[in-house]
């Protein structure tokens, strides 16, 4: 039945893509004016996410990458996880419906994901599966900006890095003022098909981009493992992003997206349950006002309000019970506000502001066998509030030296009380700290900058850290995690040294980093009501089925250092080379052993030829190298591909190409994993696709 539905969907998508030109005939083609082409070219070199103001990537003090909309269309990825995988220093732990990014050996809640400034990570992000990267419709993205390393002034909670997604707001609607496209993406390894429909419009005062995407993803096929169960899902999404252009200086931006996934499968811990079927969704909304009018005391004012609602419903089939599932429902509503002012005073550029956010948590479970309602993975009704105030100054100390210094005060408060089945839980608490950064940029020549950075950052424990209460998988079996109301913030002191070069043809960056992380929250043996096991019958004596207690404790201390190289070279004649390589070493300082799940040496090399002739054909070869994983993570320990306790490395080659057949119709085609190798990155619960054909079509109307 599934195959029939899939075939119908695929046929429909291909039909729409091919038939599109026929039924939409007679509409004038979109034309890119010289001004809009220049605008597009100039904006490619800018990055917003470092100093919350657009600046040349070369001029920033940070290790950054910008993925443009053009690059996204060429890569034609299934989701954001696929796209990020080829960027410097990022690995993706692939799961059933997406992936979790890791930057500089830190992942999950230590990597902040933003959409147009709205926080995607919420107070419950943590151990439960939340593949944010697949919950963001890739068709709405104008660019993705990646800042590697600690962000401790203009935001917090990002010990590993920031991934900022900036959506398209209709700027590409063209002179005609309105347009759109319909496309189709097909990938053979999971027989997936997705069909995005998009509209954009622009007048003197308003511009917008709206779209709707349907996707059906089958079980992913790997060369040796074959069809991997628990990797299929369905997705549908819609979005509307736009701006009111109130005056040349004043802009009111808005954005909304709603992504729903159904039939997401995930294998469960052996011995506890056999699989979980998920439904999950994420709705993001933001409203931002920006005024660039010079009023003497400020050059820019920006007010951003955002809203983020996520929920996930898991149907967990317990092995020891009947066929009826336990239904977990975890949800979070996050609302945030940021007021920020920028002022130029002499050669100083000051940015100061405040931000605040509040999470309201819903979490419950319903046992369909015993008809019992209980709390879910985290505390039902818990609240998490943040408040931050910051100031940053960027100034030229001399012709040769730019200094950026900033400081931030952050306060985090968690509130919640409940009576759980094992006893009362109270997570009321408040944490505050001051963090800061100092960045020095030495302008050796107009094309060469040397950089030295120092940061002090922290990440306060969230609701998941303090109140998680459920079974967890551990080496050797199952344990029971209980809340940690006294958890303290994780701290990092980080140093970076870097070099940036850009001459228009050759460009790149090299960064060395050294992080010292303390107070890391790690699951360690703990107690509940004074007992080290889950005393379900209350007799104080451990029975066979009374699992060990684990608790988040600030017991971790780690040292991570490594380097990243990232460069490109434009040969001329439309030929461009690019490449990156990163390696790092992580040490668990307390245990004096290698930190698990640290990325091995990994890199990418690519070459692309682009013709500026009729039809703009292009062709690229992309090669990815991933070294042997010496210390795999928990998720890897049961994997069939471990050899002597190590995860084998791999290298894969992809070939991609495309062309604009007409002014309206374009296509991309890729042959990925050409050598048909079975591989996966650390922490992944599914293998990467076998050799596969990936096709994409787009028709503009």
């Amino acid at each position: 039945m599934m195959r029939v539905v899939r075939s119908i969907a695929m046929s429909l998508g291909v039909f729409l893509a091919i038939a599109g030109p026929v039924w939409a005939g007679g509409v004038a083609p979109e034309t890119k004016t010289p001004a809009s082409a220049e605008l597009s070219r100039l904006s490619e070199d800018l990055i917003y996410s470092v100093d919350r103001t657009p600046e040349r990537t070369f001029d920033t003090s940070r290790a950054v990458d910008v993925i443009t909309g053009d690059s996204i269309r060429r890569a034609n990825p299934a989701n954001l996880a696929d796209l990020l995988e080829e960027q410097a220093g990022i690995i993706i732990a692939s799961s059933s419906s997406g992936g979790i990014p890791s930057i500089r050996g830190l992942a999950n809640k230590q990597v902040m994901i933003l959409v147009d400034g709205a926080k995607v990570n919420n107070a419950t992000s943590g151990n439960t599966a939340r593949e944010y990267l697949s919950l963001i419709d890739i068709n709405q993205i104008d660019r993705v900006e990646v800042v590697r390393g600690v962000v401790s002034v203009l935001g917090t909670e990002s010990l590993g890095g920031v991934i900022n997604i900036i959506t398209n707001k209709g700027a590409g609607a063209g002179d005609r003022g309105i347009g759109g496209s319909i496309g189709a993406r097909y990938a053979s390894a999971d027989s997936s098909i997705s069909v995005p429909l998009q509209f954009s419009g622009q007048t003197q005062k308003v511009r917008y981009d709206a779209g709707f995407t349907l996707g059906n993803f089958g079980n992913l096929h790997a060369p040796s493992a074959g069809e991997q169960n628990f990797s299929s899902y369905k997705a549908r999404s819609g979005y509307l992003n736009g701006q009111f252009l109130l005056s040349p200086e004043r802009t009111l931006s808005f954005g909304y997206q709603n992504v729903q996934q159904t039939d997401v499968q995930q294998p469960g811990p052996a011995g506890a349950f056999n699989n979980a079927g998920f439904r999950r969704s994420m709705q993001l909304g933001n409203l931002a006002y920006q005024d660039l009018t010079d009023r003497g005391w400020h050059d820019s004012v920006r007010v951003t309000g955002y809203w983020n609602r996520q929920w996930q419903v898991d149907n967990v089939h317990v092995l020891s019970a009947a066929a009826l599932p336990i239904v977990f429902k975890d949800g979070d509503i996050l609302a945030g506000l940021n007021l920020e002012i920028g002022s130029f005073v002499g050669n100083h550029h000051l940015i100061y502001g405040i931000d605040t956010s509040t999470d309201s948590v819903e979490s419950s479970q319903f046992n369909t066998i015993s008809s019992v309602h209980k709390r879910g993975n985290v505390m039902d009704g818990a609240r998490y509030e943040t408040l931050g105030a910051y100031v940053q100054d960027r100034f030229d100390a001399s012709k040769w030296l730019t200094v950026i210094g900033g400081v931030r005060y952050g306060r985090f408060r968690t509130t919640g009380k409940e009576i759980a089945d094992l006893g009362p839980i109270n997570i009321d608490g408040s944490k505050a700290d001051v963090t800061g950064a100092l960045n020095l940029i030495a302008h050796i020549t107009p094309r060469l900058n040397l950089i030295a950075n120092a940061f002090r950052g922290f990440r306060a424990p969230n609701v998941d850290d303090t109140s998680h209460y459920n079974f967890v998988q551990v080496p050797g079996g199952i344990a029971f995690q209980v809340p940690s109301p006294n958890a303290e913030p994780e701290h990092v002191v980080s140093y970076e040294a870097g070099l940036k070069y850009e001459d228009g043809h050759l460009g790149g960056q090299v960064f060395y980093y050294r992080n010292r992380l303390t107070n890391l929250l790690t699951l360690a043996p703990g107690t509940f009501n004074g007992l080290p096991f889950r005393d379900t019958n209350g007799d104080g004596i451990r029975q066979k089925n009374e699992y060990s207690i684990l608790q988040n404790q600030n017991a971790g201390s780690a040292s991570i250092h490594g380097y990243e190289l990232d460069g490109h070279y434009a040969l001329g004649n439309g030929i461009r080379f690019w490449g990156n390589y990163s390696d790092g070493v992580g040490t668990d300082v307390r245990a004096n052993k290698p930190l698990s799940a640290q990325p091995p040496g990994l890199g990418n090399l690519g070459v692309r030829w682009t013709s500026h002739q009729t039809h703009s054909p292009w062709l690229e070869l992309a090669w990815r190298y991933y070294g042997t994983q010496e210390s795999p993570g928990l998720a890897d320990l049961k994997s069939v591909d471990l050899r002597n306790g190590k995860l084998p490395g791999f290298s894969v080659l992809h070939i991609r190409g495309g062309a604009a057949v007409t002014d309206r119709f374009s296509f991309t085609a890729g042959l990925e994993n050409l050598g048909n190798k079975q591989y996966r990155e650390v922490g992944s619960i599914v293998f990467a696709p076998s050799r596969q054909l990936v096709l994409g079509t787009q028709f503009r109307f």
Binding site: S43, A171, P248, D294, D299
Partner: protein
């Protein structure tokens, strides 16, 4: 302390007054030489005013970050070159507009303005203004 601030302000005023005489605003010979206010000039160079009174499109030419540009920026915009560059990067990033073309010398600006009907730019007060209209700033 107050004395120091007053001295600094006085120096600043002197610097601005001195720099006011360091450039000429020039336009294509077809443009009327009517004097204009600083705010009107600022609006033109920030591309907020797109056409001359007769409907001719205004073509703005800027200079690279040099002494003339710093003087012009301080006097006409009342803002530093860095602030103006930041303004343009915001405009580019939000897909609204691109900054004026930048020339590296007075000679290039003069050649550009002479050749483009509706063009406006600025040059140092030492540059020859033959073949262009000098617009008085009030």
């Amino acid at each position: 302390m107050i004395k120091r601030i007053a001295t600094a302000l006085a120096l600043l005023v002197l610097a601005v007054t001195a720099s006011a005489a360091e450039f000429h605003v020039i336009a294509h010979s077809s443009v009327s030489a009517t004097p204009m206010t600083k705010s009107a000039a600022s609006a033109i160079f920030l591309k907020r005013t797109a056409k001359w009174d007769d409907g001719t499109p205004i073509v703005v030419v800027d200079q690279i970050d040099n002494g003339v540009r710093q003087a012009f920026s301080n006097v006409i915009h009342g803002r530093s070159v860095a602030a103006i560059k930041s303004y343009w990067q915001q405009q580019i990033f939000s897909g609204r507009d691109i900054p004026p073309v930048e020339k590296t010398s007075d000679e290039e600006v003069l050649a550009f303005v002479r050749s483009k009907p509706g063009a406006i730019g600025y040059v140092s007060d030492k540059a020859s203004t033959n073949g262009v209209v000098v617009i008085q700033i009030q």
